[in-house]
Symmetry: C2
Subunit: 342 residues, 2 copies
């Protein structure tokens, strides 16, 4: 069996760490594993596939002989090193927003448009909230067509990285011990103001544009349009950060183009790859972020008719932000690509 040499840029971050675990769990046929990270992490040793690998600094040299490079650090690192990695001949799977909206770069959710994965160059992993929503919308779009989607999100701190997860942990501990833990990371590390997340809801994810929407909200709109190859798709989003560790939730109000019963939607979602229906109100069964963490599918429940609009459906979905929202989606791209060549 052919082995593929892998580089993970941002190997010590929340997504990089998850990716390394998944490579092992899913028995990806990896040869060399290059762990690349910022200078502060260089020299750390991390065990993958039973071997210890030392974290190295990112360099042109490091990408030589690499077949697949995962970029899981920030957008600026992707912009700085992507061309080098592409020139070195690696398929570059970028988990940042750096290249997502470039026309030549495919934006891939494998279950939705895996056939668009290129032979070489850059592939972008969509934003976490976009991936989860796209999985649930795909079967409904195929069967009935999407007219309009109104989405409100309930997002975990993991979406802002390992430091934000630690911030929630620290704030909860300090609440209990009566000490104080200053907010330094959320809503966005680069922004001038920071707010506590414990026992709070912050209606800002990423920075604001002049139209009053955040970048996160626009990502959900524009990336979904690109993935569904439907530039006119009507989507409006409100994105909110909550004191939840690592699963995002979304409340979706969907207007379909053709009549659809709740039963039909349920059946289609049950068959959809990457989706698990968890929907039995009579037994209080619905997805919750405390129970979906470290699991692969996006879980969909609370599927019901919205009688206030033609062909309206409400639903609630929950998925692990670090896993399917980031690392798993990236790895699935690599799996499809490598299977094609084996």
């Amino acid at each position: 069996m052919k082995e593929w040499n892998i580089a993970v840029v941002g190997a010590t971050g929340a997504v990089g760490q998850e990716l390394l675990q998944l490579l092992e769990q899913r028995a990806f046929p990896a040869g060399t594993v290059k762990l690349l990270a910022s200078p502060s992490s260089v020299g750390r040793r991390i065990s993958v596939f039973g071997s210890e690998w030392m974290v190295e600094a990112i360099s042109a040299e490091a990408f030589k002989g690499i077949d697949i490079a995962f970029f899981c650090a920030g957008g600026s690192i992707s912009r700085e090193w992507m061309e080098t990695a592409v020139h070195a001949g690696a398929l570059c799977i970028d988990n940042t927003s750096a290249f997502r909206m470039e026309e030549a770069v495919p934006l891939i959710v494998p279950e939705v448009n895996g056939d668009r994965i290129p032979e070489h160059g850059i592939v972008s992993n969509p934003n976490c909230s976009t991936i989860l929503m796209a999985l649930a919308l795909k079967p409904l779009d195929d069967a009935f067509g999407l007219r309009r989607v109104v989405v409100s999100t309930y997002q975990a701190v993991s979406g802002a990285g390992a430091r934000a997860m630690q911030e929630l942990e620290d704030q909860v501990r300090s609440y209990v011990t009566g000490e104080s833990a200053e907010a330094k990371v959320l809503p966005a590390a680069d922004d001038p103001k920071h707010y506590p997340i414990a026992f709070n809801a912050i209606p800002q994810i990423d920075s604001f544009g002049e139209d009053g929407y955040t970048k996160e909200e626009w990502k959900m709109v524009r990336e979904t349009r690109k993935i569904f190859e439907n530039p006119a798709l009507a989507i409006t989003a409100t994105t909110v950060r909550l004191p939840i560790f690592r699963s995002h939730c979304e409340s979706l109000n969907i207007e379909l183009r053709q009549p659809a019963t709740v039963q039909q939607c349920c059946a289609l979602l049950q068959q959809a790859p990457g989706v698990e229906v968890m929907d039995d109100p009579s037994q209080q069964v619905y997805p919750m972020p405390l129970y979906t963490s470290h699991r692969d599918p996006v879980f969909v429940g609370r599927i019901r008719k919205d009688p206030t609009v033609a062909h309206g459906i409400n639903l609630w979905l929950v998925g692990d932000q670090i896993r399917k929202g980031a690392a798993l989606n990236a790895l699935q791209i690599a799996e499809i690509w490598s299977n094609r060549r084996s």
Copy 2:
């Protein structure tokens, strides 16, 4: 100045306690104060207006000579004792859902329909989520007409009472100390299954109906229609419980009947009684539940155009569930009623 004899049924609960504080803070002209509660609280002494009052059992005798009776215990207590209190001649302000949808019972948000407060009999206080939403919708309905509202809520544990607030507190403490705290109250004390709320989101508030909606979701629809005297008003709701102590948040997508700019909506909301606009994305200013607790207004921010529908507006609102969502609204009803008679 005329003084009014008051009874508070459920005086030891979260809403009852808040009401007693507000009576004092707002210098309500109270004469006798009867504190009524379940047998387990009888004999407790509570200080109101500088005097100590002993908690008594609910009885027909207790309502004699009472001018205003606030019902802040459960719906079953309201159903059991309301007729007695009405017969005793008290204006009965009911904070439970027991009589809200009865045609003869006015459902009042003072800033919206305070003119409907009756001379005697029962007045119902709407559901907390309904009150907060109604305040923000009122000026927009008056100016442009409402066509349709899609609302997703982010609700505090206080809506399920003092025991649910304690449950969140206990779960967070046990998370930090490494012990375990069993979920016993949420999502609904009477339901067979309970789920932890710390670090979770529970998409169930109150019990489910056969159409897949919860009672809370239907309350937001039916009560708003009644308050706005518009039985055809199109509203669809998804209600979700979160690890937040006492302020509810709501993400509203609103379709107006006539064209409206964001600036017009902002200006109208700024002038609306009971509303405070908190909306400056460039300064990261928007309402958050950690900062709105123990405050009177409903705070509105993130007001922006939704370009996916004719005359669409998105906004985000936050308000103290115990205060304006319950106790303050009830007290405002009593204030208007007593001012009319003074």
